[in-house]
Symmetry: C2
Subunit: 643 residues, 2 copies
């Protein structure tokens, strides 16, 4: 492809929720250049096609595609006549809309003929009529087309039809869901690829129509190798827009503005990944003040800190627990009621300026280049957080994650004012009450709002450069919970994102901080010795563990006495335990990884969730008070408001 000219970006209206005006507004605000007009959205809109054209123009959008036109080709003459009449009516609409390309998807009707010559002849006829009006036809193989379900088949028919106004539309879902060989893409002349639709999807084994209609997602959220696919299409010489067409049950009911931004972020990330493979034009962000290419994600080296807020009623309990865990107060914020607690490499800031139940308000990652991390986040349309900053406070950059947790970019070893540590006045060293129990932060587990789970996965992938792991489903007494880990390559930054499998509750239960230890048994013993309430684990768990895993009876007995849980994988072992709840939204886990254990103890999560319910069994669980959504934003000291 040519030069540095930014490629146009589009989104199908069907990908977003709301009325047509909601959708167009959202697409424009997120920086898209064009939209695919989904017929159903137009049919039910109160605006005429001409009025829609006017609105598009006001918003600086173009109508890149009119779609879909169904069940047209390879039909009997009487059907053809009706279909041509229908097409002419749609051409009228397109002229009024200012759309020049119509998507014709392969016939799914039972009475369609399996006859490529007939399909080609009839498509030629349609293209001829379109060209008389200056329009053109993009023919797409639906993965569930009656006779034409592969893109290479649609291309053979287009080739046979041989009309200037007829080309193919390539849709990544239809092609990648079937696993079709991509080699033929290279044989299609670039100018015959009239349109490109991009969608990702989790790898599911199910009816492809249902898969397509309900589970598509934005590139980078699913399991398809879209950079490889896009690279092939660009190498073939495709010059049209990169347009997202995503049918997703959640996206089509979620806030369209947020989803449009998520969509744009997914395209920027995809362009970056594709550029790395092909040398295609680098991704350029529509964020106004970023004119260059997307800044690369700097390497991360663990957590600088995590910040808890705690209301006065829970403050003593929170700090008492940290003390018991071997943390000591290492610094006091110079201007704010925030204490820095430290144990090993773990820094936990406790923010007393809150009237909310204890929860994680902020996480801070150690980045090799905080400024570049922030530039990348901004270019990827992350909501930047403006801080209320004292005149000599460090200028920390932060963004709001989809669950509103603040994410800070820090470099603790900076010797200038840029280190967040300079904001804290050191406290006199306290006599340690014993050997350190905690060596650092192992991971953080954050409950996500239902509608923004995929957004969260993409957020961390795009902005922090983390890797997504597979979704897992965990059984809790109140239903299934979906959990997805995201981490960097060396495992120094790990997050577990949790969400209920069904919407309805705002959160998937409490958040937690998992602290690393070298000796979980000792840690549990020490904590119990200090009277710290740990989560009680059923004796049945240990009976089952003994049946499943060949462990030393002595170790088993000790784990059982202390409430320590166990897992193993091909790389090592995990010993871990949980504190009782701190308030109603937070608990702490202590984790000992032996060897190179890679997981998070998910096998034990159902036992943990049941135990967290057990202390107060209610006769009718629907009557229990539901937890509130995570909304850390207003209460974090280190942050102010969205910029």
């Amino acid at each position: 492809m040519s030069g540095d000219a930014r490629r146009r970006r589009g989104i199908a209206t069907v990908s977003l929720s709301g009325t047509l005006d909601d959708k167009l507004d959202a697409a424009a605000r997120a920086g898209f250049d064009g939209v695919e007009i989904f017929e159903g959205d137009l049919v039910s809109a109160p605006w005429s096609p001409g009025e829609v054209r006017g609105r598009l123009s006001e918003l600086g959008l173009t109508a890149d595609l009119y779609q879909p036109f169904r069940d047209y080709e390879a039909v009997a003459p009487v059907t053809l006549a009706a279909n041509l009449r229908r097409a002419e009516a749609k051409f009228d609409v397109m002229e009024q809309l200012g759309a020049t390309t119509m998507l014709v998807c392969s016939n799914v009707a039972e009475d369609a003929f399996d006859d490529d010559d007939l399909a080609a002849e009839q498509l030629h006829q349609l293209a001829e009529r379109a060209s008389e009006r200056g329009l053109r036809i993009a023919y797409e193989a639906l993965a569930w087309g009656r006779h034409v379900s592969e893109y290479d088949h649609s291309w053979r028919i287009v080739e046979r039809a041989d009309h200037l106004a007829l080309g193919v539309c390539l849709d990544s879902f239809h092609i990648l869901s079937r696993g079709t060989d991509l080699a033929t893409i290279g044989e299609i002349p670039g100018e015959k690829i009239f349109f490109l639709q991009l969608a990702d999807a989790p790898r599911l084994r199910m009816d492809v129509l249902q898969w397509s209609r309900h589970y598509r997602c934005f590139p980078g959220q699913g399991g398809f190798d879209l950079p490889h696919f896009l690279a092939a299409v660009l190498r073939a010489g495709y010059r049209g827009p990169l347009s997202l067409e995503v049918f997703n049950d959640v996206f089509r009911r979620a806030d369209p503005d947020r989803m449009a931004i998520d969509a744009m972020r997914s395209l920027l990330l995809l362009e970056e990944a594709t550029h790395a493979r092909t040398g295609a034009a680098p991704a350029r962000s529509p964020a106004l003040d970023v004119s260059g290419a997307l800044p690369a994600a700097p390497a991360l080296r663990g957590y600088a800190f995590t910040e808890l807020v705690a209301d006065p009623a829970e403050l003593d309990a929170t700090e008492g627990l940290l003390t018991a865990l071997g943390f000591r107060a290492a610094g006091r914020h110079r201007f704010k009621p925030v204490t820095r607690w430290r144990a090993g490499t773990a820094n936990v800031l406790v923010n007393a300026a809150s009237d909310e139940d204890p929860h994680i308000a902020a996480i801070a990652v150690e980045t090799a280049d905080p400024a570049r991390s922030a530039q990348r986040a901004k270019a990827l349309l992350a909501p930047m957080l403006a801080r209320e900053r004292g005149p000599v406070e460090a200028d920390l950059a932060a963004v709001a994650a989809p669950d509103e947790t603040a994410v800070f970019f820090c470099r603790s070893d900076a010797e200038d004012a840029e280190s967040w540590l300079t904001d804290f006045a050191p406290l006199p060293a306290q006599a340690a009450s014993g050997p350190a129990l905690v060596t650092g932060i192992d991971h953080l587990a954050l409950s996500q709002p239902f509608d923004f789970f995929d957004e969260a996965a993409l957020f961390y992938r795009a902005i922090l450069g983390l890797e997504l792991h597979d979704n897992r489903e965990l059984a809790s007494p109140d239903g299934l919970v979906r959990s997805r880990a995201v981490s960097n390559l060396d495992g120094s930054v790990r997050l577990a994102l949790n969400v209920p499998l069904l919407a309805g509750d705002d959160t998937a239960g409490p958040q937690h901080i998992a602290l690393a230890t070298d000796d979980a048994l000792n840690a549990a013993r020490r904590l119990r010795g200090q009277g710290v309430a740990l989560l009680e684990i059923s004796e049945n768990y240990y009976a089952d563990l003994a049946a499943r895993v060949d462990l030393e009876p002595e170790l088993l007995r000790t784990m059982s006495e202390l409430g320590v849980l166990y897992d193993r994988d091909g790389h090592g072992e995990l010993l871990h335990f949980y504190t009782a709840m701190v308030g109603s939204r937070l608990f702490i886990e202590v984790v000992e990884r032996r060897g190179a254990y890679e997981g998070y103890g998910a096998v034990n999560a159902p036992v943990r969730m049941a135990a967290q319910r057990a202390p107060s069994p209610l006769p009718n669980h629907t009557e229990q008070p539901r937890r509130r959504a995570v909304s850390a934003m207003p209460s974090s000291t280190l942050q102010g408001m969205r910029s």
Copy 2:
């Protein structure tokens, strides 16, 4: 099978939400005799197996099955040793629990051997150890078993193993999901069928493991022919309990008491249907005062009435709309502020004793035998509604549907005090303002609470004897809506049950009453002439309709002028239109069926839902006030409180 002895009924704990005690309580309250103890529920319970046994005994429940024991058979010697050790530990638990049968499901491990002899030999060994403790093993073919995935295969292995303490467990899902021929069931001696697990499921084309884990439902809610299956198992001589094992995302988070009742209702209905085919013992209800068989559902002949409640602010508008539709006030309730409005065969009661937005508080069906309808409802565990009744008021029986709408059983032609009509003092006949526009009630559309959608379908199927039609998905601006029609054979009682595809909202939008007319165009013209606000339909709809369907231009023009929508199917045509909202929860549809059109105009529902959003487009739709859950109960005059 023998005599009239009632067959024992059971449910797997995994089918219900909550902690183990919640599950056991719910099962007992719903009248189950036993439970399958799902291992995960026991492992995370704070009670020891002995304590669980005590609790079961208190509740009058037995532990019919301990399940599942996985990946046991056809393994290498070292694995066998570990598996036997694991089994012995589980036998210990079973002895403490008082469970005598263990479910062993076919091995799914990659390293299992495809060797029936080895599987049989190792199962024999397991059965021998079990029998030493007075226990027995039920071997089940998982539909996704590595080498054993069909029940006839599991039977061949059991036959080969030839041990008294070894039999098969038949699970309807594993068998019907694969479409396995049922003939072999008849070859299995009844005493070798150790256990029977029952589950229904919608017919989905997807990975059978995911289908099984997320989409099972109670018999009668899905697409399997369970009476046929159960009849085959009973004919083979199976004498154990009928036990439900249902993995369902919704059920496992919904109120366990309601779900357990729903489960019991499904079994009663299944037993009735199976009895009809086999002469097996008729279904007997655990409802205490019903000792005989389930009373058959009397034939229904349409709606006696529907009752609207309306707050004072909307009362005039509601009654004004009825007047414009050609209804006239035909009677006044003798004791309550309720007016009977009549047009053709349609009776709409308007209840002014409410401070709620207008909505449907009650529906009344015409039944050939109201007393028997009520007995059946009671036997099927429907919540009976106790009415606040005056001394000379008709004794109408009513039950609460899952969405809390009251359902009354009426016989309007009764000449004695049993007719609901005797409660109304006739009003003087009014001069009709023109020919009747409305001939009767065509159907009612009720929005369902998300968690109770399957319950609602089964409720109407079981209690009213209605037929379930397929689910449809309809696109609204705020997400997909699932709609399922239920009706009797002659179509005189039709309901459309609507629910959002994703939970989170309490309702799937407003309810509506669809009134039948002989002339929708005339009706729309008359209403507009009287200044009645009808829903405005986009001109784009008619342009699309003209393109899709070959209609007379004159008819199209008229429909467009009047806002009348159109559909056709293989049997006839539909012309229909909608009023504007009455309050925020209700509207009225007017429906003309030409020929034998069978549907509900679902193709036009997206246009309707978009038009209902259109009058007040909001820049951010997540900020719009959400509608409240349907909660008609407290406000209906004709009803009092649950008995």
